[in-house]
Point group: none
Chain length 280, copies 2
């Protein structure tokens, strides 16, 4: 709890009926109040503008404007909300923002703590020495695959990303022992991605899986298994935090790869951006 909300809370006992109502409303809707005028707050809280103005002065602010600015600053320093939040009906926008924010933040934090440095290290080595890299995933994981592909292309690495099952297999069947395949599936149970990994493995390539943490077929089959935080099922509805954490891992892989061969890759990266700017 912040200094201001705390002060309001403490003061509650010495308050009148209306003031208490107002205090409760403010504590309840702190994040929205920051964007309301005094009139709007008056309407929504059931108190008059005069009462609110007096309330702010009691808290030793110069007025409502200062109260808002201070409250805004306080809330900014705080985490949005602690735990995973599910999508529910008819919530105000402020709650939705806070919920999505906290889910994302938490998912990234959880995933960071879960990372197995040894496995990551091996994955980076495999990618570094791969002649060619195949990246496979369906639906949302397909987008993550494409994202990694885009990054690899930017540094001039030979890579392919596929979302189409047949093309995945076609690509995987042409990999060799010099190559690597990275197969992405949140559940680790996606049939198409599993068969792509099997095919890549049969071709002799090093296989890397990227799935949620926990036992799953894709991770079990892979040479190197990377994991993201497994989220509450409710949240999966939109494939939101799962995709964020997969991208987070892709980013780490990419940065590790670059950091490894900085002098070679960074100029290529810069050049690729400059060229895009030049020709568009």
């Amino acid at each position: 709890m912040s200094a201001i909300t705390n002060a309001i809370h403490e003061k509650t006992s010495s308050m009148n009926r209306k003031e208490k109502e107002l205090a409760d409303f403010i504590l309840e809707h702190a994040r929205e109040i920051v964007h309301m005028g005094i009139t709007e707050l008056a309407e929504r809280s059931g108190a008059s503008t005069a009462t609110i103005s007096r309330f702010c002065k009691q808290l030793h602010f110069s007025g409502y404007a200062e109260f808002k600015v201070k409250l805004s600053a306080e809330l900014a320093g705080e985490a949005a909300a602690p735990a995973y939040q599910d999508i529910v009906a008819g919530r105000p926008l402020t709650d939705i923002i806070a919920a999505v924010e906290s889910n994302h933040l938490r998912a990234i934090g959880d995933t960071a703590r879960l990372i197995d440095r040894k496995a990551l290290e091996r994955a980076v080595l495999a990618l570094r020495s791969a002649r060619q890299i195949g990246v496979y995933g369906m639906a949302t994981s397909g987008l993550v695959a494409q994202d990694f592909h885009q990054k690899l292309v930017r540094i001039g690495r030979s890579a392919h990303a596929f979302t189409d099952h047949h093309m995945m297999l076609t690509s995987a069947s042409n990999l060799t022992a010099d190559d690597a395949a990275i197969c992405i599936s949140y559940s680790g149970r996606t049939a198409e991605t599993i068969s792509a990994l099997r095919c890549a493995r049969e071709s002799g390539a090093v296989t890397i899986s990227l799935t949620k943490f926990g036992s799953n077929l894709l991770a079990d089959l892979a040479d190197i298994a990377l994991f993201t935080s497994p989220l509450e099922e409710g949240m999966r509805r939109g494939d939101m935090a799962s995709r964020i954490t997969q991208l987070f891992l892709v980013d780490i892989l990419f940065v590790a790869l670059i950091s490894d061969q900085f002098e070679e890759y960074v100029p290529r990266l810069e050049r690729s951006f400059q060229m895009v700017r030049k020709y568009t």
Copy 2:
């Protein structure tokens, strides 16, 4: 540097004399401004109240009051979060994980604080009532576009995502006044995406831009401008945090949309997952 001060800084080059003076004063005295009224700021900075009010609108704030509240939040959040880390050579894996993690966390936090609820509200309304939704973006922003498209398809909305310039225009030219277009570009200066927005606008559709915060052509042209935190240029090298924050906004839009019409969309969403499971 915060998102807002950064945006002001960038804009400096395209400013008039008085505006530049004002911008300098604001950058210099950011922490004091939070406690000044527009009149006091006018006196101290040497600009008129009118110029200040216009200045705030140019930065896409609803007015001086909102500017102050957002600035206050930014300055407070700044202190709480660690600074952005750039990619550098030969760092140990542990450092890389920590750096990427903190960049992502910070980017999400910054973006959350920056969100304009009014604009978001309008965007949600536009998307809710749209007959058809066109989603356009190039490269990394193209993946974000596809992500939003996938989400919309899951809830049975009629939507199209394109990365191919010609197809963007073809799609945008077929939109009507009943439709909406959302155009994604981190810089807000991507030629193809800008022309797609122009085309959609000409077709009568409601246009929504999703760009980094700060003045940019795409945002200026759009009916509704949504923003993500503008990151240090160094980080752009990999399009990492920018993509995370764009997805963050897409997630918020999606959740808001669902939350709005919960009874209709949630069963569709569940059904779409079940069907995928059933047939694979």
